[in-house]
Amino acid sequence: MEERAPNPVIKPPTESKGILRWLKENLFNTWYNALFTLLAIVFLYVAFKGILTWAFTEANWGVIPANLQIFLVGAYPREEIWRVWIVIYTLGLLLGLSSGIWGGLALRLALVIGAVGGGVGIILAFFPTAFFNRFGLLGGVALLAVSLFLGRGRQRLRPWVLGGWLLSFPWTMIWLHGFAGLPTVLTSNWGGLLLTLILAAVGIVVSFPLGVLLALGRRSNLPAIKWVSTAYIETVRGVPLVTILFMAQIMVPIFLPDFRIDKILRAMLGITLFSAAYMAENVRGGLQAIPKGQHEAAHALGLNYPLTMLLIILPQALRSVIPAIVGQFISLFKDTSLVTVIGLLDLLGIAKTVIANPDWLGLQAEVYLFAAVIYFVFSYFMSYISQKIEDALGVG
């Protein structure tokens, strides 16, 4: 057979734009844009000069490393902190294996967490602190990397890893709380970032399926289920989270005096039940956007209601409302700071106690800025992951 000459590939014209040309086209293309540009430069200079001068000359950042332990774990006893590391390493191992096995999104998640963890780990390695091994975080990143390579191509590990994720929550709880011969660490001592992350993780993981069920319930043809779901959603949405947290704290012991439910558990319950109502409305929005024909086609193929929802309707409905759902997750994460009103010391609660400490008077700005950066990093991380999910699913 004769070799055919390949069609000549014509490259698109390269639009070489110098910096000057870019500046002219985007910032100085008209007299008023030029004016705005100049004004903006002046404004940025004034603002940043102030902030940077403050940050590098006036601010007393010593408050952060001095209180790092309570920022991270609250009143968790120093000699038991290795148990937190056990939990971190377990999660690192699971994440590494998952990303190795599934690749794709899990891999990206692992890479981002690894990169951020590695960066923070390197910084920590230069600051010897008394309360934990300064190479602990780098060790976690190394474990993540190793388990990633171990997981590659090991498809038969799938059910084990999934089971591992399911068990990771009770595993975390018993390690943090203590079991067998380990000394018990009362949950009243849990605090700081640790508490914030536990509350947020539980809230997110539990409120999502609950919200989906409530959304399906609200659209159900069965009047009792529809009515109960609607009443629940509307009631919860009509009440501020603070009120729900107070109710969980004060009313539960009054109505159920025989049950001694842990304070943190009650906070988790409050946050989860609150978030589920909003989640339900987000999901319902997605459900309503699915054409009736999809239900009909599924029914006509003999799929019953659960299969229709699980295989046809929910996959389409959920992917269309990912931005709203992740927005809800982020706001749940930040709302965990409200648990200070019931006396739990999450990251923000700790920040307040640090400020109130006579040794560190007048350092609100430093402490709050530090807390804000941590909140931002986690919130932006969720936002970033949601964008990647949307890319992977081909929406947006």
Binding site: G293, L301, G302, Q316
Partner: protein, 253 residues
Amino acid sequence: MADLENTTDDSIIVCDDVHKWFDDFHVLKGITTAFKKGEKAVICGPSGSGKSTFIRTINRLEIHQRGRIIVDGIELSDDLRNIDRIRQEVGMVFQQFNLFPHLTVLQNVTLSPIWVKKLAKGEAESEALALLERVGIEEHAHKFPAQISGGQQQRVAIARALAMQPKIMLFDEPTSALDPEMINEVLDVMRELAASGMTMLVVTHEMGFAREVADRIIFMDEGAIVEEAAPDIFFDNPQNERTRLFISQTLQH
């Protein structure tokens, strides 16, 4: 009822005095008819005549409120098990295709065999590929519905319904949403299916197809069967005034 007993011997679908209302609007006003095994029936009529609603009552996408419908010996009632059984025996093709956009062509076809009939994945896939080849789409098996043309989508929809090995196929205006040049590729698949002996109920405006394939043409207007006859009688010697008007209007262009 006397009518019902006379027709049950080789009838696969029996409808007896079927009524349906949308709120106060009386859509079906006492449909009584029966379809034999292997029969190809074309149901036509002006829009709003209730023809789509009628075939949708046969797999209970629409619930009739009076009368009886018996499909392959099973009466359609509120009993969910009966509905599930009937839906596995009755395939349906929709005007808007209604493929599942988040699944590939192959997954669309294998979904129900795997989850409802509990077929092994490999077996379901090889059967699905054979069906896709039968409708001429095998090379697009791994594409998503949005990546293929309307005519191709509708052929996938037919393969998807056939994957459940139904005894009866319902077609609800299968070519109405298609660009003109794609109508024939779908009709060809339906002709082939008809030749294979499938029982088919087709709501369509394609009178050429009706004349060629149908054993019987049912003309509906205002929720009732106005006239039913073999195609040659129906087209050449219609008995009813409304039928004559409808035929003259549809055949004009």
